[in-house]
């Protein structure tokens, strides 16, 4: 019992730390990647001076995130004269909290056997093993969709309670856009659920550790390449990032649903957005990129296509799995930033048209083709 508590506490601390680190680092990555993409250097003037010396640590502008945070905290805490102070106050938290909760069901590593890590732990744990995941729920994917659906309420609350017409318009746009893309996102994943026969994210990842056709890793993107593209598009749209950032289109709506928010309350919205990038990255990694699995790797080591096996110790396997998950997530985040700095913004009618007249039919076609294929594979009309 105590062992379980300790292990899950470690998992929770790791997951929270990872998400918050991702949120902070991504602000820097976004700036730097945008700069390098457009032949610039990027933010690099903030520094930390070691006390009593003249040594200034610049570290490629990494400290700009800290400077941003300090600025947010020192700013005036403006409150609009609104009739619904409570909704106004809780709206950032309603956006921020579910974003963190989504990560509870995402497996960030394989099975951890603490007894095999060090002999001192072996007697205490007595052979218990733990899949590296905070909550092992059978309804994993449903929980993901439920919690990411909650953020819609937060944005609409913010738009409604700000007593500002720009905010209200932004909230309305956010609501209709996120509901539309939530639907598309769910439909694109359905094909994958049919193939893997489970909505438990841990089970989905475990099924992706094998090999198909002898050499291809059995990742979701191999089974559902079309679904993967649709899913990523819908996820970026649901995250309200450029080219789908209509709820906060600054040329039309100032800042959309968070026009009236200042200081750290506005910072929470921004932070939630950056963490959501990481969540989308983690989710895409889990569903389509094999999660923590490297190609040809299982819990015992590598099994190369030729039949060669490389055995690895348990500690090495755990570390490789954790790092593989982080690297894959970071790459997907980087791709999202690439999209954000390449494509221009849609018009609002185009966004909804894109969801209902383009993405939805394609998702349905993808689903139908998958269903027919599976039916044929399982014997068809015998």
């Amino acid at each position: 019992m105590t062992q379980d508590l300790v292990v899950y506490l470690v998992f929770i601390v790791y997951a929270l730390g990872m998400l918050i680190t991702f949120g902070t680092i991504l602000t820097w990555v976004e700036r730097k990647q945008a700069a390098v993409m457009s032949d610039r250097i990027g933010a690099n003037r903030a520094y930390v001076r070691i006390p009593f010396t003249q040594i200034k640590l610049i570290w490629w502008g990494l400290f700009h995130g800290i400077a941003d945070g300090l600025k947010m905290m020192c700013k005036e805490n403006f409150k609009p004269r609104t009739y619904d102070q409570v909704a106004y106050a809780i709206a950032p938290w309603v956006v921020f909290t579910p974003v963190l909760l989504v990560f509870a069901v995402i497996p960030f590593g394989g099975t951890l056997d603490p007894g095999r890590l060090s002999p001192a732990l072996a007697s205490w744990f007595g052979g218990r093993t733990y899949p590296m995941q905070i909550a092992r729920l059978d309804a994993g994917l449903l929980v993901v969709f439920a919690f990411s659906g909650l953020t819609i309420i937060g944005t609409m609350l913010a738009g409604w309670s700000s007593a500002n017409k720009f905010s209200l318009l932004g909230g309305l746009r956010a609501g209709s856009q996120m509901i539309s893309y939530e639907l598309v996102m769910g439909l694109t994943v359905l094909g994958l659920i049919m193939i893997f026969g489970s909505i438990d994210l841990g089970a989905i990842v475990r099924q992706q550790s094998g090999v198909v056709l002898g050499f291809l890793p059995a990742w979701g993107i191999v089974y559902q390449p079309f679904g993967a593209v649709l899913f990523l598009t819908a996820a970026i749209a649901e995250n309200k990032r450029i080219p789908f950032d209509l709820p906060e289109a600054e040329s039309e709506l100032i800042a959309g649903f968070y026009t009236e928010y200042t200081s750290m309350k506005m910072g929470l919205f921004m932070f939630a957005e950056f963490i959501e990038i990481a969540i989308v990255g983690a989710l895409f990694t889990t569903l389509f990129l094999g999660g923590y699995n490297l190609p040809y790797m299982n819990d015992a080591g590598f099994t190369l296509p030729g039949g060669t096996t490389i055995a690895l110790g348990h500690a090495a396997v755990v570390v490789i799995q954790l790092v593989a998950f982080l690297v894959k997530t970071m790459l997907v985040c980087s791709f999202q930033i690439l999209v954000r700095w390449t494509l221009p913004r849609f018009r609002y009618d185009q966004v909804l048209m894109f969801a209902w007249k383009f993405m939805l039919p394609l998702a349905l076609v993808n689903l139908a083709v998958t269903a027919v294929f599976l039916w044929a594979q399982q014997g068809g009309a015998r």
Partner: protein, 193 residues
Amino acid sequence: MKVAYQRKRYWNEPTLTAWERAYLPEILRGLGITSVVFLRNMWRWVTGRKGALTTYYPEERRADYSPINRGKHVLTQRPDGKPQCIACNMCATVCPAKVIEIEAGFDPADSAHPKYPIRFEIDYSRCVFCGLCVEACPEDAIRMDKETPHLTSSDRHDMWLGLEEMLTWNPQRDVAKPYPAAAADGPRHGVAP
């Protein structure tokens, strides 16, 4: 009678080919362009070169930074180190921004130039760097350096420069106005040609 709305036809209607209308290929091409630029620049940074067009001013300077740029003012000196300025106030008079303040003093010991500046101050928060003071000076006592005065400050009173900061000209290195070893040249020395 109600007329149905008709969209205005422009003479330069945008024309898209079917390929561009399909949207997705062009999106992919755009992503390809940006990622190639990203990878190229990143490769330059990683291999120790510079992957940006930015000049990291003021640490770096562009090659075409003008050598005759009008920047910070310099007061020239006589070989004995005193300012060449005779406090005639011509620069202060011609200055369109009225930023020069001179307080004249009397030095009976130096009979050639008894009038000299006790105080010579320029307010750089208002200076427009037009160079008229340099042209107005009859004594070649004020010039302009190509370096800009780096006076970043949150207080406008920190943006004044006085005699100590501006008397930085070193007579040994001046080409425009050589001083032959003539400290003993007597009272004629230093009079403008």
